[in-house]
């Protein structure tokens, strides 16, 4: 199949060009990788892979690339994406145990299935087209059914409830999308080292997908160069967050399980990705040593930090940073090699207990009502223990309040009655103006667009619980609109609860830190949490129903038509006469009645049973039979003719 160039003759006299390629003079594409490990209070371990790829402002985006994935750059160029986030998630983030008030959870706790939002840099009228094209392109790129977000019934344009205020923002989610390796492989393909080398080599598929929570995220944003005639730069951030259960051998139930990288993932890191500018592993221990002295300058104390009475680290950290309530050990994996793989382990010696910082309110959502006709959706916000300690309370008019934004999309077949919105604070119904600061409703249109509800609540600080309920009617879908396995029910996407006056950030006071992971932690991120996905059972029709209906109506019509024709045609008087003459012969009342009945049913006079000879009857029968046979044969022949014709 391959033909050879058999010989090399200097074919073309090319203009010789001498260019001093000076890579230092211009900014190059940069890639960095990081892994954050964090033991969780409920005996699980969180692993957060973070990859960042930066393309400097250039005009050759989408055409010439060195490290940055060409596919993503072409996507950005073609659809003029300003900012975009795509996440694939399986499992639900446990806000109670895994934290709800740190940058990690506010950015990586995502709703089940696929979530996509994007801001475009196109005129307002073209935003929807761009969105539709983008969903198709992403669908192909990530082997997922993201293209279902194309239909206008599945996405919405949030105004302020989502946190990013832009009128060119589109948001959509697919709660039922199953996430598996076929989505991870194309995601890994965007990394220069894929899973061949560096930290990503840890991603052993069975161990990654065995976890309790798995969220794979891709966030890209364009950075304006600010220079005339120069394109914008792109920052691509890829994260994978998994929560794993270390296998424990210890019998003590209150003891935290000890683990190592190889026991968690079944693999070890044998070196960094050579293309990465920085590749670090971080270990974050929360809720520890808050009472101890702040300075860790001396060698002995530093040593104490990683080998002490509580726990042992198998490797010496390169640096230790501390925040108000947590410790961060930093390991540089550049030094590891094939002979000396990097296998960080944590061994607990004493039972220890701590808790994560939680969001001010914990949100759950559930359905109320029964039957296939109507129901109600309720969102319950419960105060958490840590609520009092949190910053971000706003004191207005002498009252201390907590602000909470609720953003919810309703599919059109869930017909929400917005006037039924009820708000209860501490089991007492409140009028709207008391707690509802702002509300934005865009009602759904049948089969055209989905409904959207954005609410801003202002709850008193001492609130114990708040509940919002709204009633809905279940709509009827056209028979074509039911998905396969319609009896499973229909999903209502997660609601997003965000707290606009609360921002999570972790500042390790590391002035030297150029680590993209730490700098992303340092940025103040909006505290947000997603609720459960609701499953609404709708009345599903019997899908053979159209044919049943057709058959029944046709039979009724046929009956009606036949009897009408009979009424028009039949001669009642003659038949009666005939029956009278029959009655003259036979006097049995009952038999006469029967024969009259049969005559009526058959619509023709019955022959007296004795009058015809059996031979005549048989010949009559046979002629009728032959006629029937001919009719059936003719129909069969016609059928055959038509069916072979096409």
């Amino acid at each position: 199949m391959a033909s050879l160039i058999r010989s090399w003759i200097p074919l073309l006299i090319l203009q010789s060009f001498l260019v001093a390629i000076a890579f230092g003079s211009k900014e190059a594409e940069e890639f960095s990788e990081a892994l954050l490990l964090k033991p969780l209070p409920d005996r699980k371990v969180l692993a957060h892979f973070h990859f960042e790829n930066r393309a400097p402002p250039s005009n050759s985006h989408g055409r010439h690339h060195h490290l940055f994935p060409k596919a993503i750059s072409q996507l950005v160029q073609k659809f003029r994406v300003k900012e975009m986030e795509l996440s694939f998630t399986q499992g639900r983030w446990n806000h109670e145990h895994w934290g709800g008030f740190d940058p990690l959870s506010s950015m990586n706790a995502k709703p089940v299935g696929v979530e996509l939002w994007a801001v475009f840099d196109v005129p307002q009228s073209q935003v929807d087209t761009s969105w539709k094209n983008l969903t198709h392109a992403l669908s192909g790129l990530f082997c997922a059914s993201i293209n279902f977000l194309e239909s206008s019934t599945s996405y919405a344009a949030p105004t302020w409830g989502f946190g990013t205020n832009s009128d060119k923002l589109r948001y959509g989610s697919l709660p039922r999308e199953a996430v598996c390796t076929e989505n991870l492989t194309p995601w890994l393909k965007l990394l220069p080292c894929r899973d061949k080398d560096g930290i990503s080599a840890l991603m052993n598929r069975p161990s990654v997908y065995r976890g309790f929570y798995h969220s794979q995220r891709l966030h890209l944003s364009t950075v304006e160069s600010g220079q005339e005639g120069l394109g914008s730069g792109i920052v691509l951030e890829q994260t994978l967050t998994v929560v794993l259960q270390p296998e424990t051998t210890s019998v003590e139930t209150n003891m935290q399980p000890s683990w190592s990288l190889s026991s968690l993932f079944g693999r070890k890191v044998v070196g960094s990705c050579v293309l990465a500018k920085s590749s670090n592993v971080y270990l974050q221990l929360e809720g520890r040593l808050g009472h101890e002295s702040k300075n860790v300058d001396t060698e002995i104390e530093a040593h104490k930090l990683w080998k002490n009475a509580d726990f042992d680290l198998s490797l010496k950290p390169d640096r230790v940073l501390r925040e108000s309530s947590s410790l961060l050990f930093i390991f540089d994996i550049d030094k590891s090699s094939d002979s000396e793989p990097f296998d960080l382990g944590l061994t607990w010696k004493l039972p220890s207990k701590w808790s994560c910082q939680q969001a001010p309110l914990q949100a759950t959502r559930f359905l109320m009502g029964s039957g296939n006709e109507r129901g109600a959706i309720a969102i319950l916000l419960k105060a958490t223990e840590s609520q009092e300690k949190l910053p971000g309370r706003v004191v207005t008019d002498g009252r201390c309040t907590i602000k909470a934004n609720i953003f919810q999309i309703f599919p059109w077949y869930v017909k929400v009655y917005y006037h039924t919105l009820q708000i209860f604070v501490d089991q007492q119904q409140k009028t709207d103006c008391e707690v509802l600061k702002k509300i934005n409703v865009s009602p759904s249109t049948d089969k055209v667009s989905s409904g959207m509800l954005e609410m801003m609540l202002e709850l008193p600080c001492e609130v114990k619980s708040a509940a919002i309920s709204i009633e809905y009617d279940k709509g009827f879908l056209h028979i074509d609109e039911y998905p396969p396995d319609a009896n499973q029910g229909f999903d209502i996407p997660s609601a997003l609860i965000s707290f606009p006056s609360h921002h999570a950030s972790l500042d390790f006071q590391e002035e030297l830190s150029k680590s993209p992971l730490l700098s992303s932690f340092k940025e103040k991120s909006l505290v947000r949490s997603y609720t459960e996905v609701l499953l609404v059972p709708l009345t599903t029709p019997d899908f053979s129903m159209p044919y049943n209906v057709i058959t029944i109506t046709c039979t009724i019509f046929a009956l009606y038509f036949g009897s009408l024709l009979n009424v028009l045609r039949r001669r009642i008087g003659e038949e009666e006469r005939f029956l009278k003459s029959q009655a003259g012969k036979k006097t049995f009342g009952l038999k006469q009645l029967l024969s009259r009945l049969t005559a009526k049913i058959r619509g023709r006079p019955i022959e007296p049973p004795s009058s015809d000879s059996p031979a005549a009857q048989s010949s009559f029968l046979s002629s009728k039979l032959i006629f029937k046979i001919i009719l059936v044969a003719g129909a069969a022949a016609a059928w055959q003719y038509f069916s072979t014709d096409n």
């Binding site: 074919l11 890579f23 010439h64 293309l275 036949g562 024709l565 045609r569």
Partner: protein, 605 residues
Amino acid sequence: MEETSDRLNPTTDTSGIAPEFDPKTMRSTKPGLKRLFITTSVLFSFLLGVPFLWKSVEIYRSPLPFHDIDSLSDQIESTPLQFPCNFHAVFVGFESKDPDKLRSQIQDGINQLTHQSSQCGSCNFSISVTVQNQADQCSETLAYNPSMCSYRCGVIKRNEFGVGLDDTVDESLNDVFSGCSENSGKTYSVVVVNKENANGEDEVIKAVVGKRRHAWVVGSGLEESYGDIVARVSEIFVKVFMNGGRDEESIHGEFMPVGSDGKIVLSFSLLNSNPRDWVYDWDFQRIDDALLAPVTKALAPIANISVESQVLYHTPKSSFSSWDEKLQSYIFRTSDLPFFVNSNEWHLDTSAGASGRSKILQFVVYIPSGKECPLLLQLPNGEISKTNGFISPMWGGVIVWNPENCDKDSESPSRNTISPQDLEQIVEIFLGQFRQLFGFKSEAIYTSGLGTYKILPSERGFTEWELDVLSRKHTCFNLHSCSTTLGSLSRLVRSLPRMIIKDEIGEQVKYSLKAAKLAQSNASLGGYSSSASSSREARSLAENAFFHPSIMSVSYFSYEHCFAVYSPFFLPVVAHIVFAALREWKGYRQEKAKYLTWLTRKKTA
């Protein structure tokens, strides 16, 4: 049997009216037609409704011009597309040669070479010959083409010609033949110069084909062996100018690597098979601007070319290589080539920029890892390939580039940039491969039985006469593919009578046929670029029609469905009506017979 019969009771009537009246066989009144009329009118209204029902279940099919499609494909099959070409031969320094005789000899030579068969995309040539004798006097064949370039007699000096660089000779010939009108096809000229055998030694005949549309043969004593020279001139016309110097069987015209929307994406990938050993980078932006831009510009009439590049890492090849002690290098053989491209690990990616049906040509520069460095390609004859690369038709090409120093000096991988000189070399190999993908030779020499011809390479990758050949072949290929696509579409449409065909498809087919017709007429007039563009349009419209999304929606409203939906109603109703009509008709005839017998009885009585 009619409604009056219940008024007059036959049992009472029998004794009254006539003595012979038998109520079983006779009747006294005319049988009524009312019931018969009702049943037959219902039956007829049903029969009348059948065409309407038929019409209502009919699916929409836009009428396609089947006849035109068939005639187009017949035409393309039977009469291959030919472009007008003018061949002009100038013989300088020949005595006593009759130009008309020379012309007929060249004509014979050409006919012999083309075997009288006209290939698609070949030339419909006209030949003119000028002979300039040693005294600079000219005699010409009667030019039956008035637009033909006229050669001004005596411009080419017999003894001064061909001195100096070939490039300058080419330029001077361009001046000589400038002012040719290009109205009816391109004019190709061959100048044969018979030099004086000044120093007495046997000079080699030198044949050169220039960058434009000129070739020259210089030698001494040509007058004596003029039969040979005439054969060579006709060979230049046919093998070089008409067929582009390519072997007929090498790459068939079917494999024109141009997408059906007339676009090519050249995707360059630099593969670092193991970045732990060394990492190489390139500055492709400069290459693109400096070296590739002229090529893409030159090929603009054929295809719209865009260039992309990327660098990939951890991309081992999937074939094995072995250590060769003698060469001190790892070698891979031509038999390994089908397994060289590792489609699992080389995520070369289709480009989002290549929307629709563009053609992507992958050009891969493979940098071997430390374990297989240097990596050389061994040809079947045991030699080492000088380009160290290979092509795969319609896919692209691979070049193996070995780093200068294969020793890994340190633990940490070295980060290097391929030097501009090396890059230049890589681009040269690539251009050779690119030419091969288009079916041209990568060599600058064309050898035939009669001798060798030097071909001057163009810095744009393709010379003008090569571009002419390409646009002829491209037009031909486009028209051919357009007609086969439309032919398949018409066969498909005719074989599936229940398929919905939208108006858009009909329109596209119509416009495609129109464009194909236009391309044919432009080609016969000699408009190279106009016929190429309209043939491209014809092909892309035909493909659009064939791959229209709606074409897949074969109606599920099948005959079975029809029966299932309509039979519950129509079967019982129609049975009712037909039987009722039959019975009424039978009864009417019976009664009428009764009446008639009574009438005759009455008459006789």
